[in-house]
């Protein structure tokens, strides 16, 4: 393995270290700056705790929804191609390129009281804007492509010979799905799920618009952090930020593990 020049190595390490590592370290430093007792008190802050709980509730619904959709759509697009699936494929990638603020705007236009769908839904007593369902909807929207983008190229690469073989051995479609298909995309899906989780708990702009940022009611943890900063509760904000940063690190570990296992899967294709 050729080794790159020392200068390059140093340069890259410094760049990434300062750009990424420094802020990360800073978050934790700020959180711990006032000692353990202040830390404990801040963790018990009612507003933040509610926000935390809300974020968890959103994730519990949004992430599984996206996984089911992501895997299902990927299978459909790869194994049963048609004009419709090609459109679907392109549409799925859309949220990746859109600013979260625009996402919020779009949802508002569609689902507010006087919006296109909101009008109809309101008749049934469903309020999307400024409420929990709206936040879930926004979260699902922004993380829509994350699972598919991992699974689709993999499904294409693997091909369906194994599934066809299982069919000749007598297995029905459901059994084939769970014993063959799912097992071959496990780690790619895990990678996508980790990304989805990170995106859902970390979404700011879209949720800001859709939820109305009402403390104790529709304020997720990210919004709580933002609100604290705007009100100069810097310390409280950094506590919340640390929690999310910790969560991100956990997600990173999950990503790393998934990537590692996926690489091992590749070895036997040699």
């Amino acid at each position: 393995m050729k080794r790159s020049p020392l200068a390059l190595r140093v340069l890259v390490l410094v760049y990434v270290g300062v750009l990424v590592g420094l802020p990360l370290g800073f978050v934790f430093q700020q959180a711990l700056a006032h000692g353990m007792r202040a830390l404990a008190a801040a963790l018990a802050d009612a507003q933040m705790d509610h926000a935390l709980w809300l974020t968890v509730k959103v994730a519990l619904v949004a992430v599984p929804l996206n996984v089911v959709f992501g895997v299902g759509a990927s299978l459909w697009i790869v194994r049963h191609p048609s004009h419709f699936t090609r459109v679907l494929d392109a549409l799925i990638d859309v949220p990746l390129a859109i600013s979260p603020v625009i996402v919020g705007l779009v949802l508002m236009l569609a689902y507010a009281q006087n919006g296109w769908f909101g009008h109809v839904l309101a008749l049934w007593g469903w309020h999307v804007m400024f409420s929990y369902p709206g936040i879930v909807l926004a979260s699902v929207f922004v993380s829509l492509p994350l699972v598919s983008r991992q699974v689709i190229p993999l499904l294409r690469e693997i091909g369906d010979h194994a599934e066809q073989t299982a069919a000749t051995l007598g297995a029905g479609p459901v059994r084939i799905f769970f014993t063959i298909t799912m097992r071959s995309i496990t780690w790619a899906s895990a990678y996508g799920v980790s990304l989805t989780l990170a995106r859902v708990i970390g979404e700011y702009g879209a949720v800001l618009i859709v939820s109305g940022n009402i403390a104790f009611v529709t304020q997720t943890l990210t919004l709580d952090i933002g609100a604290n900063f705007e009100n100069f509760n810097t310390y409280q904000g950094f506590i919340g930020a640390s929690l999310l940063a910790l969560a991100s690190i956990v997600v990173l570990a999950m990503l790393s593990a998934a990537r590692h296992r996926e690489r091992k899967r590749h070895e036997h294709l040699a």
């Binding site: 091909g159 066809q164 073989t165 000749t168 051995l169 007598g170 059994r175 097992r183 071959s184 294709l269």
Partner: protein
């Protein structure tokens, strides 16, 4: 299980891949579907398996019309060219898969899989994973997996194409003896004519979606129905404008045949090829065995006389074609 194909037709979009194919395959035989790439042979195999639908015609297995029966109900064993191992499962679980689907009790599964492992000589690989197996071993595992469900017909799609010459050769003879021992109706798809001739009881030669000829290897080789079959099954050369097999040209005493000069001699182990050119500039080549070449002691530049071997009928015959 006997197989009847009746007027099978299949297109992919605007591409006519199988055109009105009719054939009957007898119980217990080993048939090779032979043809160049794109001849439709793999598609035909997949249609028999139920992995592909057909546009017209029908397929019968043992007298039963299975045209609309899905693959999982046809009781067939299928092996892909890439062996399609279930990478996430051990060799044991791979082979046991079809038995688990049939809800066989665990102890019985264990017995049957062990038997199969012994049959394909993979006993020591029970707990290994496919990624740890060589190509030949994966192929044997795929066969064991297909045989586990006691299929009535075994379908093999280019099973030896990805193996090197030696491993492929060994596996070929092993498959042939296995098939004779078990007596399962087997169909093998290949583009390699020597492979087909080596192990098949009967050849079905396909070209461009149509059957050109069927028959035993010897019959088809000696009495090809047309120029395509003749050229596909073996080497061809010309002598004085007549198309013939290089091994049907013999060297004779001077004056009895065409005079030609030896241009090149290629020694290829068992076979020696002698390239000759006659006075008009036409070139042919003669195929000799190792012994023949040694005895004749030829050298480049020698003048020789050539003629067609007596008794070798080299013009295409109107042999019955199956339609």
């Amino acid at each position: 299980m006997s197989i009847l194909l009746n007027r099978v037709t299949k297109s992919f979009g605007n591409d006519l891949v199988l055109d009105d194919v009719t054939d009957e395959i007898t119980q217990g035989s080993l048939t090779a579907l032979l043809g160049p790439s794109g001849s439709g042979k793999s598609t035909l195999l997949r249609i028999i398996a139920g992995l592909e639908t057909l546009d017209a015609g029908h397929v019968e297995l043992n007298g039963r019309d299975v045209t609309n029966v899905p693959a999982r109900e046809r009781q067939i064993g299928f092996c892909f060219q890439d062996y399609a191992p279930f990478y996430q499962m051990s060799v044991f679980d791979n082979i046991a898969y079809g038995l688990k689907v049939r809800k066989m009790p665990k102890s019985q599964i264990r017995r049957e899989v062990d038997e199969l492992l012994a049959l394909v000589r993979l006993e020591s690989f029970t707990e290994r994973y496919p990624r740890q197996l060589s190509g030949g071993q994966r192929q044997r595992m795929a066969l064991a997996r297909a045989l586990a469900i006691k299929p009535e017909v075994l379908l093999l799609d280019e099973p030896f194409a990805a193996l090197d010459a030696q491993v492929g050769g060994e596996l070929r003879s092993w498959v042939r003896s296995l098939q004779h021992e078990l007596g399962i109706t087997t169909i093998l798809v290949t583009h390699n004519q020597s492979e087909a001739m080596e192990i098949a009881d009967r050849l079905v030669i396909l070209n461009d979606g149509r059957i050109e000829q069927t028959g035993t290897p010897q019959a088809v080789y000696d009495e090809p129905a047309n120029a395509f079959v003749q050229g596909f099954l073996g080497p061809m050369t010309t002598l004085r404008g007549v198309a013939c097999r290089p091994h049907d040209i013999e060297l004779c005493s001077e004056g009895q045949g065409v005079t030609a000069t030896i241009i090149d001699i290629l020694r290829l182990g068992f076979e020696t090829r002698v390239v000759v050119g006659d006075a008009d500039g036409e070139s042919s080549w003669v195929q000799l065995t190792h012994d023949q070449a040694q005895r004749l002691d030829l050298a480049v530049g020698d003048t020789v006389s050539l003629r067609l071997r007596a008794g070798g009928d080299n013009a295409p015959n109107p042999v019955e074609r199956s339609r």
